[in-house]
Amino acid sequence: MNALLRLTLLRTMPALFFLAAAIVPASAEAAVTAGAAAAEKGGAMVSLPAGTYRPLYGKAGDGETRVEAFRLDRDPVTRGEFLAFVRANPEWRRSQVRGVHADRATYLNDWTGDLEAGTARTLRLPVTWVSWSAARAFCESSGKRLPTVKEWEYAAAASAGERDASRDPAFLQRLTSEYARRGLGLRDIGELEPNAWGVRGLHEMTWEWVEDFNSVLVSDDSRGVGAREFDQVCASAAIGATDPSNYAAFLRYAVRAGLEGRSAMGSLGFRCAI
């Protein structure tokens, strides 16, 4: 090789090295940021394998319920994501939503306008005051769906360390304390530890819509109209429940029992599944 060329290369190699050292990590970082941003935009999902869990309501002796493998959003759907959705789908805006899909008196109650969902910090919070119909429409728009009760309960049985902590009294006490703060304000999702599946905020943020929210009770005892609702209240809720100490589960099922497709609450949000 030409001696001059060799010398030039030798002289510039360190500089080239520095240049490479500068570019490569930067692009890697850019890739991570882009990935994170994509995740922020509602991408990040967690895969849960098929398994079993013990539901709160079941016929005595039924034992565990089987859940097929599925994917679940790592985090609840945010206000920012829902804002993008109503921007693209005007029929779901507050002023235009149809009565059969949502009650205009409650739908997106805490937004200040059709497309005003708050500050940058507020946009990262879970969206609430959405009806079941609206939640389904959002999930469908990204090729997803709402999780079923079974799937949600299966994912939510996990503590930080264990996949099935549903019989751990300390875990259940923590859940009851979390539920007691429901009206007291939402934390940033980044503050929350993922559970053993990698899912965040199932208990600490809001109640969450599920696809079959009104099929929560399996009972042989049909005492006529209103029987299902009555089973959720008074002492009869404890009859037929597999674990009367699981107050956290009772609270979740009691909330579901009162809902209709148009219902919306400040403490009720959702996440999607595939």
Binding site: T106, Q173, T176, A180, E229
Partner: protein, 373 residues
């Protein structure tokens, strides 16, 4: 004989036979009817001659009014009517952080904003139209079970109310007496333990005897578990199951009826206490230090069941009405006489009696110090 001749010869006999067959048949039918009638007569007279559900004579309803609800220890004024009316009761459930004791804030679930819930006063025979709403800021649904109600769940079956929502039902106040009401959404112990109880008085048709002062007292327990720093206490479920409260209080917090919060009455006044026990677990040995109950309506029923009582038992989810006349000035102390609860857990209240001393009834003869000889 030919066939014809045989037939002719047998005709009278045939006629006789069919006659007796007829008689036999008729007798059998008559006998059967007789047996059935006899059976009817000796059957339980109630089952076939009365309707399946006995129905009291319900008075007709004249007019309507909105109930005036009060917060403990105040009681709505005695009802001044001799007819049944439609009473509209509007009550809202809330969930707010409130003081349970010094240094202990607790997320209280309430009927009407405070623990215990508002006092409702109606008259025997009234048609009560109950409108329950649940604050928009609540996190869970609520409902109501009033012990005065004859009907499914005491109303709970038809009043499940989501935050931001409302429900309505009506019932007839068939039974006079003092009744507890509480929330009955599952898990029921949690809703009650967090403060969702109150009382409804159904005055008997003839009203209660007049007294100078009526007060509303409700005992209950709390099972409080400290939250993270800066956050309120919440329900300690394990303590609740073990029935080991951290606090036993009158009217929803330690000190709700002491010091400046103590009601004041005058010497010589007759006092009636409507005392309830929201539980969720403990029964109360209710005693007023410095007084004897002249009358006790045991278990909050509509009749005086005992006179001259020192301490009366009030079951969890029950009540009692006690009456006494104050004779001397001083501070009456209300306690649950399961005495550790009064001194260590907060089951202590006061009524201040003001006025002239009455040495005939109570007099100090010698004070502290060494006895003089």
């Amino acid at each position: 004989m030919t066939l014809n001749e045989t037939a002719k010869k047998n005709q009278p006999e045939a006629r006789r036979r069919s006659f007796w067959a007829l008689v036999g048949g008729a007798t059998t039918i008559a006998a059967a009817l007789l047996v059935l009638t006899a059976a009817n007569l000796f059957r339980d007279p109630g089952s076939s001659f009365r309707p399946a559900v006995p129905v009291k004579d319900l008075p007709s309803i004249k007019g309507e009014m909105v109930a005036h609800l009060t917060q403990a220890p105040e009681v709505p004024a005695p009802l001044d009517r001799d007819y049944a009316t439609k009473v509209i009761v509007e009550l809202e459930t809330t969930e707010t952080v409130q003081r349970l004791a010094d240094g202990v804030d607790y997320t209280m679930w309430t009927f009407g904003g405070k623990v215990p819930g508002n006092f409702i006063r109606v008259r025997e025979g009234d048609l009560v139209e109950f409108r329950l709403t649940n604050s928009k800021t609540s996190g869970v649904p609520h409902n109501i079970d009033l012990h005065a109600v004859s009907g499914p769940g005491g109303g709970a079956a038809v009043t499940l109310t989501l935050p931001g929502g409302g429900s309505e039902f009506s019932f007839r106040a068939l039974n006079p007496g003092l009744y507890v009401y509480h929330c009955a959404v599952s898990p029921v112990p949690m809703h009650i333990a967090n403060g969702m109880y109150g009382m409804i008085l159904v005055e008997p048709k003839e009203g209660l005897p007049k007294v100078d002062r009526e007060l509303y007292i409700m005992q209950s327990e709390f099972y409080a578990k400290a939250g993270k720093k800066g956050e309120p206490h919440t329900l300690d479920f394990e303590r609740g199951v073990a029935e080991q409260p951290t606090h036993v209080v009158f009217n929803g917090s330690v000190g709700a009826l002491t010091g400046d919060n103590a009601p004041v009455v005058n010497v010589g006044e007759s006092v009636r206490l409507f005392v309830g026990n929201g539980g969720p677990n403990l029964s109360s040995s209710f005693h007023v230090i410095g007084e004897v109950f002249d009358h006790v309506y045991g278990e909050g029923g509509s009749e005086v069941t005992q006179k001259n009582v020192q301490t009366t038992l009030i079951p969890a989810g029950g009540s009692a009405i006690v009456e006494f006349r104050t004779e001397v000035p001083g501070t009456l102390v209300l306690v649950d006489h399961a005495i550790f609860r009064a001194f260590n857990k907060g089951a202590l209240g006061m009524i201040k009696v003001e006025g002239k001393a009455n040495d005939d009834v109570f007099k100090q003869i010698k004070g502290f110090g060494v006895m003089e000889h």
